[in-house]
């Protein structure tokens, strides 16, 4: 479903040139819940931006659902982002001049009236808001809700066009632990319920419990970390996620920076 091939991204020219991402290649399969972890400045956001078509790689290709996205022009990329991708940023995700409901409807409206996979935008948006527990806030202006509620609304918005992949860049980075847990639980439940692919950049590895895969970025290079199935299984519905996360917070199982060579292998095509 997603294939990244030798994706490299450099910023700047000549002397000031920084290569933030070097020769990254990996696949993501439908329905997978993938975490991207790594130290600050290691290139996680750069990687997410490449697969989110928010900027173009310096070289390499990103193929999503068989489309070589590096070949799209600016408006082709915009249309692709709109219909195939959902975005959740670290903070201030919502347009503060709109209500929560209008924010959730926005990608559908950007897609235009002609394009809707079943149902009218309003009805779909309300249903999504119900599923993220924000039905009561639908009519509130986006700057009137809490940070956790805003992230939940952003997740709902990311789902409205039934995207191939939802991309989230540190979605819990600005939240307290209670809100973080509930946002993580929402993403994991949604992933399971809708067989929705998620790619999530995080510093808070411990909140996520068991995931399908963890990709580690270190100094612009991508490593895939083996995930032993069931090792940290939070149980059905992720109900015990809070307890697991609390335990993880006192004794982190996975140290975020500098994974050891033994626990990583470079992913090659």
């Amino acid at each position: 479903m997603l294939r990244a091939r030798s994706v490299t991204k450099s910023y700047g020219q000549d002397a000031t040139r920084v290569t933030a991402l070097r020769d990254a290649s990996f696949d993501i399969r439908r329905g997978e819940f993938v975490l991207i972890v790594g130290a600050s400045g290691s290139g996680k956001t750069t990687l997410l931006n490449m697969i989110g078509l928010l900027s173009s790689p310096t070289s390499g290709r990103v193929i999503i659902e068989g489309v070589d996205t590096t070949r799209l022009d600016s408006s082709g990329m915009a249309a692709f982002r709109n219909r195939r991708l959902g975005f959740v940023a670290q903070f201030a995700n919502l347009l503060v001049d709109l209500t929560i409901l209008e924010n959730v409807m926005l990608p559908r409206q950007i897609a235009g009236g002609g394009w809707s996979r079943g149902g009218r935008p309003r009805r779909d948006a309300l249903e999504l808001l119900r599923s993220v527990g924000l039905e009561a806030q639908a009519a509130q202006r986006a700057n009137k809700v809490s940070g956790g509620q805003a992230q939940r609304a952003a997740i709902a918005r990311g789902l409205i066009n039934r995207p191939s992949i939802v991309l989230a860049d540190e979605p819990t980075g600005n939240l307290d632990s209670v809100s973080s847990e509930s946002v993580v639980r929402l993403m994991k439940d949604t992933a399971r319920r809708l067989n929705q692919t998620f790619v999530v950049v995080t510093h808070d590895r411990e909140y996520f419990g068991e995931v399908d895969r963890v990709i580690t970025v270190s100094d612009g290079r991508v490593y895939e970390e083996e995930e032993e199935d069931g090792r940290r299984a939070p149980g059905p519905g992720g109900r015990q996620g809070g307890a697991a996360a609390a335990a993880a917070a006192t004794a982190p199982v996975v140290p975020a920076p500098a994974p050891t060579a033994a626990r990583q292998r470079e992913v090659l095509p």
Binding site: S75, R81, L95, D97, E102, M105, P107, Q109, I110, R157
Partner: protein
């Protein structure tokens, strides 16, 4: 409503300060143009009105030589037969020397313009008689109306005073008559006969030895729109006479030319005012764009194209333009209405000729609207140049 107009509206309306600032800029631009129009076009029209009312009518007929020799009756009755003509009045003018004995002292004024009028016809074709503030208009062969300035220069001549008036006749002989002051003329704005004397046309003709001759005919139209046509018809009807017939615009062209270029310059100032409101809009729109950097990035991430971002901010410009044009035009019309109702006058004397020029009002409103959109183009373009990643980086 689509998301673009909705966002354009909300982003603007949720920023009261920017909205009020931008709308005010447009409003002031329009108001300046309206106020300029009321004052300066009103002044111009007032002067044209007074020249017509007091001196030329809608058509003025003169002769290539100084005097018309054709009979007064022939010319007057030709015009009076035309249904679009309201009235016609003959006049003759000369330069006079006037003296008066006031409390035993002789006061003399030279080179006073003196106009001979037909009292019966003149009050129909001209409004000079309405400027007689004291006493009455010329009614007898020996009555004279003194302009207020002439009366003052004659030591404060008043109604009932007797004066001596001397003109030089066509043969170079001095002719003197004793006349009685019947009234003092003082026109609002001083465009009337405040510096002249008005007397009976028969008496003046007699003194000038120009029996049956006329200096000019002023023709007042019932239908002003027909002035040029009637003028042409008149000239064709008397091909063998050396008549000169001009509409008021033609006759006062020289007098008004300077004024018109003055108005053009003042209008330029108005347009410069509009330009500065455009710059204000550029600034305000740039502020809005800068304040919305991150949200624009999010919009782009969600799939809005560059074009959509452009449209949102141009729509915002349209909103500013529409509201500003509406408020500005309303303010301008209120001022015009106020000026008209209170019979506003220039310099506290000349009553302005206040009118509603709907074509110009519409043009001003449309121009401000267009300018607001134009002023939004650059900020809108800047908004489209934001790269989503960079925009979302901004805190």
């Amino acid at each position: 409503m689509g998301y673009r107009p909705r966002l354009a509206k909300r982003m603007l309306f949720n920023r009261r300060g920017s909205l009020i600032g931008a709308v005010l800029a447009v409003t002031i631009g329009i108001l300046v143009i309206h106020v300029n129009f009321v004052i300066f076009q009103g002044l111009y029209d007032a002067i044209v009105r007074d020249i017509g009312d007091y001196r030329t009518g809608d058509i003025i007929v003169t002769d290539e030589d100084s005097f018309i020799t054709k009979s007064e009756l022939a010319v007057a009755s030709w015009f009076e037969r035309n249904p679009s003509v309201e009235a016609v009045a003959p006049r003759i003018s000369a330069s006079a020397e006037i003296n008066i004995t006031k409390s035993g002292r002789l006061i003399e004024e030279t080179r006073v313009p003196v106009v001979g009028v037909d009292p019966y016809r003149d009050i129909k074709a001209s409004t000079v008689h309405t400027t007689v503030s004291d006493g009455s208009y010329v009614f007898a062969r020996n009555s004279v109306v003194l302009g207020t300035n002439v009366a003052r220069d004659l030591g404060g001549a008043t109604v009932g005073d007797s004066i001596k008036l001397m003109v030089v006749d066509r043969w170079g002989e001095e002719q003197i008559r004793r006349l009685v002051v019947s009234g003092i003329a003082s026109s609002p704005g001083g465009q009337g006969f405040d510096y002249s004397a008005v007397m009976h046309i028969h008496t003046l003709r007699d003194m000038m030895a120009r029996d049956g001759e006329t200096g000019s005919f002023m023709v007042k139209m019932a239908d002003e729109g027909q002035a040029a046509a009637v003028r042409d018809l008149f000239l064709r009807s008397f091909p063998s006479d050396d008549f000169v017939a001009e509409t008021i615009e033609e006759a006062s062209e020289e007098q008004l030319q300077g004024f018109r270029s003055g108005i053009a310059m003042i209008n330029m100032i108005g347009y410069f005012g509009m330009m500065s409101s455009a710059f204000a809009i550029v600034t305000i729109q740039m502020m809005i764009v800068n304040g919305k950097t991150r949200e624009i990035g999010i919009l782009r991430a969600l799939g809005a194209r560059r074009r959509d971002v452009l449209v949102i901010f141009i729509m915002q410009g349209m909103l500013i333009g529409a509201i500003g044009a509406g408020v500005g035009t309303a303010a301008g019309l209120s001022y015009t209405f106020y000026a008209k109702e209170t019979k506003m006058s220039f310099n506290n004397s000349l009553p302005l000729e206040v009118s509603y020029d709907w074509a110009k009002i519409l043009q001003t409103a449309l121009m401000s609207f267009a300018l607001a959109i134009l002023a939004s183009l650059y900020p809108s373009y800047r908004a489209t140049r934001l790269v989503p990643v960079e925009a979302m980086r901004a805190v």
